[in-house]
Structure formats: C-alpha cells, structure tokens
C-alpha cells in the first residue's frame, strides 16, 4: 500500500537563508486511513509540519506528497483544528460548523440549493459529539470542551480525507481531554480519514494513534517511529495496560534524551561564544 502523506527529506527555513531552521531532513510516511501522532520537545517544528502538509507554506527543500501528488497550494481535502477553537462569536453553533461549506467547492456552489441536506448533515455531526441540543447557542455560551467539540465538527463537515490536529485538546482540563479522546476515536473509527495529530501529550498520542513519530529538537527531524498495536476501541482502562505504559515510557525516554542533547549543545555554543 502506498503512502497517503509522504515527506521526503523536507527542510523548512523561515525568513532568509540565515533565518530560523524549523525542519531539516524530515522524512515520514503515513498510510491512507491511518491515525498518526507527532510528538517532540517544544519548538521542534511540529506546527511547521502542519503548515507544510496543508500547503499553507511551501518547503524550502525536499518534497511533500499528499495522495501521490506534490503539495503546491492549499488542499481542499484537508480539515484543520487548533488548540484555540476559533469559532466565530457572531454565528450560532450550527452555522459555525457549516462555515467550511461556504468555502470549499463543490459544496459552496450547492449550499444554497441543497441547504436542508447540509443542515441535516451538520446536525448529525453535532449529534455524534453530543452537541445536538446546542446548535442554536452562540459559541461563547459554551464551555471550552464543548467549543472544542464544535471545532472538531467544523473541521470534519466537508468530509476531508486528511484531518490535521494541532494540540486540539491542549487547553482543556484532564478529564475533558480524556473524554474527547474517546469522542475523536469513535468518529475516526466510523469514518477512517487519515489523521495527523500534533501533541505534547504522550498518553494522548498512545491512546489515539496507530503510529507515533518522535521529532528531534530544532531543526526538527523524525528520529523514531513507534507502531501502537493496542486493540481498538481503546478506553481509559487501556491507559493502565502495561503495554501502553511501556510505549509511553519508551517515548518519554527518547524525548528526555533529545532534550539533554539539546541543552548540552546550547551549553557548548555558549562556551565557544
């Protein structure tokens, strides 16, 4: 099976040639329908990865392939969600969720004439995350967790083939976060879109992902990948499974090592200067 998302020796430098090197020699491949997680120390260029794959930023070197074709501009088959839910406060929840339909073709052209059909679709999606009673509320009337559920719905309404999540649960309390892992997993299990989850939370990565990529400190590079072969659906019980703990522990050690090396390099640079 060929890869759906493929990065080959990708580099990304912000600014001029002297600028910040965010990524260097990043290589990874994600299969169609796979749930991938990307973890690493802070500032390792995980968010740059998001921008590269969605076509918002072109790579400085190397190639980014999605669905066999090089990424040259914004991809319509992508859905995105960030830590900040960014729902529009002047729109009701339902119309917030339907926003992508006003942008993406062919929905954009069909929206007016097939409105009822699309509304029904948005309602159904809200139902899957338990928000169907709140469609006529404004986002600011809802709690952070509920806003993030709606954000998830918005990123999925146009049925993207690729879902990009940048620390979507990072700002939530631990209980809400764990609850939303379950919600996301069940949506993914029914629709099987390819997913890339960027996160700091190793338990979150191990709970949700089929494969976890570990990135090095800046300039970011993929230094290891781990297959997570735990059976699905995973539950909070799974997180106490010895095998789960072992995976989290291994990755934790890798990241600790990267951080130590980075500190050593920084100290050496300081000495030279």
């Amino acid at each position: 099976m060929s890869a759906f998302v493929q990065l080959d020796d990708v580099a990304l430098t912000y600014g001029s040639t002297e600028g910040t090197v965010a990524l260097k020699g990043a290589t990874m491949s994600i299969e169609r329908g796979q749930f991938a997680a990307v973890v690493g120390p802070s500032g390792c260029g995980k968010s740059s990865l998001m921008k590269l794959v969605t076509g918002l930023t072109p790579p400085t070197a190397g190639t980014v392939l999605v669905d066999g074709a090089p990424v040259r501009g914004p991809l319509k088959i992508v859905g995105m969600a960030f830590q900040n839910p960014t729902l529009l406060p002047w729109r009701l929840l339902l119309s917030n969720v339907m926003l992508p339909l006003e942008i993406v073709q062919p929905h954009r052209a069909r929206l007016r004439s097939h409105r009822a059909e699309y509304v029904e679709k948005a309602r159904q999606l809200l139902r899957t995350v338990g928000l169907d009673e709140f469609e006529t509320k404004y986002p600011w009337m809802l709690s952070g967790g509920m806003q993030q559920r709606a954000n998830l719905c918005r990123s999925l309404i146009h049925e993207p083939e690729l879902l990009m999540l940048d620390e979507p649960f990072g700002a939530l309390d631990a209980f809400t976060r764990e609850e939303l892992w379950g919600v996301l997993q069940s949506i993914w299990m029914t629709k099987k879109f390819t997913t890339v989850l960027v996160t700091h939370d190793l338990r979150e990565a191990a709970y949700l992902a089929d494969v976890i990529f570990v990135m090095s400190a800046r300039p970011g590079r993929v230094i290891a990948s781990h297959a997570v072969d735990l059976p699905r659906p995973r539950t909070l019980e799974t997180t106490f499974d010895p095998h789960f703990i072992e995976i989290v522990h291994t990755i934790r050690n890798e990241i600790a090592q990267i951080r130590n090396e980075a500190t050593a390099i920084a100290a050496r640079k300081l000495k030279v200067a």
Binding site: K51, T54, G55, L56, P74, L75, K76, V78, M80, A81, F82, N84, T86, L88, P89, W90, L99, P100, E102, I103, V104, Q105, F134, K137, Y138, W140, M141, L142, S143, G145, M146, R154, S155, H158, M164, T176, E179
Partner: protein, 262 residues
Amino acid sequence: MTRNRRRLEVAMPWLISIGILLIWQLAVMVFGIQPFVLPSPIDIFKALIENYTPIMQHATFTLVSTMIGFLFGILFGLFLGVVIGSSRLMYVGLYPVLIGFNSIPKVAVVPILVLWLGIGQPTAIATAFLLSFFPIAVNVATGLATVEPEMQDVLLSLGATKTDLLLKVGLPRAMPYFFASLKVSITLAFIGAVIAETIASNDGIGYLMLQASSQFRIPLMFAGVFVIAIMGVATYLLFALIERRMTRWAFRGHDIQPIGGG
C-alpha cells in the same frame, strides 16, 4: 439592594447634570455674577424659550450638515479601514500620512475649504467629514487586524480567497470596532460642522452664536452651547444603542452564564 443600585445607575446621569446646574445657579446668585460674564441656567433657559424658532432652525441646519458629513465619513472611513487593515503595504504606506493629516487642526483647513466650496453648507459638511472619518478608519483597520491567525489558516487551507476571509471573518470581526468608532465620530462631526459655521456660514448654531456674541447677547450664546451639547449627547446615545443592537455578541458574558461542562 441590587435593584436599588440599578435604579441609582439609571438616575445618576440626571442627578449629576441637575446638580451641576444647581451649583451654577446658586453660584451666580450668591456671588452676584453679571449675566454678560456668566448667565445663570435660568437666564439661559429664558433665552432658549424666547428664541425658540430661530434656534431650532439653526440647530436643524447644523444637524443636517453634521449628518451628511458624517455619512461621507462613514463611507470613506470604512473603505480606508478595509484598505489599511487588509494590506500590509497599504498600512505601512498610508499610516504616516494619516497621522500627519490627523495632527492638522481642522480650524486651519476651513479657510482652504472656503476657497474651494464657498461660504455655507458645503464647507460645514466637508469639515464634519474631515473630522469624522479618521477614528472610523483606524478602528475598522484594528478590527481587521485582530483576526486570529489560526482562523485564517483554517480557511486558507480550504482554498478561501482574500475576499472570502474579509467577508466571512474580517468585516464581522471588525463590526464592534466600527460601531464603537461611530460614537466617537459623530461628536467629532458636530465639532467640525460648528467650527466651519463660526468661520464661514450664514446659518447654523455656530453662526447663531457668533452673531449673539457680536450683539452681546450672552445668554443666547450659552443657549447655543447647550443645544449643541444636547444634540451631541442625543446622537451619541443613538449610535450607542445601534452598537448594542448590531454587535450583541461583543457584549457577552455579563448577564449570560456559560452552560454545562465537558
């Protein structure tokens, strides 16, 4: 207690205004201040009643000049705000020019306007316009600049154009700023119109006051000042009401509690 406090909040502006007038009246009476130095509120009120018809005519004239100038100010301010707020190059290029323009005392511009537009209403309208567009432009530009980068990424990754971004996110996001600036701008438009009228006009409250001054009718002058202030407060309240109506979502959180958890 809370209900009493609410009532007090509603009554407060009236209590303060009436209090000031009372102190004024008492001061004039106690210290025996002459009417040609400072007329008492009662004298001013008398002058207002006696000259009711001419005052109303001139006030209407000023109000019309102000509103027309303000309308142009809204249109141009909105346009300029969108241009500055959505293009980095335009922002960099236009900002110093705008700041420079805004630093010019508009009184100094009126003689130039008279040269072009003559004595009368067009000059008053133009002055009202020149004073009122700036806050609108700056506020709209600020509103456009507050769009979250994540929101832009979400829409751009879906293939949104710059126009999409502006219509779906930028302009609605800028609306609270826009409506807030209207409150400031309408009072500036009044100032502009009255300034122009005192310099170059044969109508309007500004002209009336200048006439009253040259005839030494001090209470009438003060009556003019009062009428301007009342029109200013009334239009301010009108636009404050429109602001609340149009951008209710921006005033969230005070009386509405968030629902549920998770």
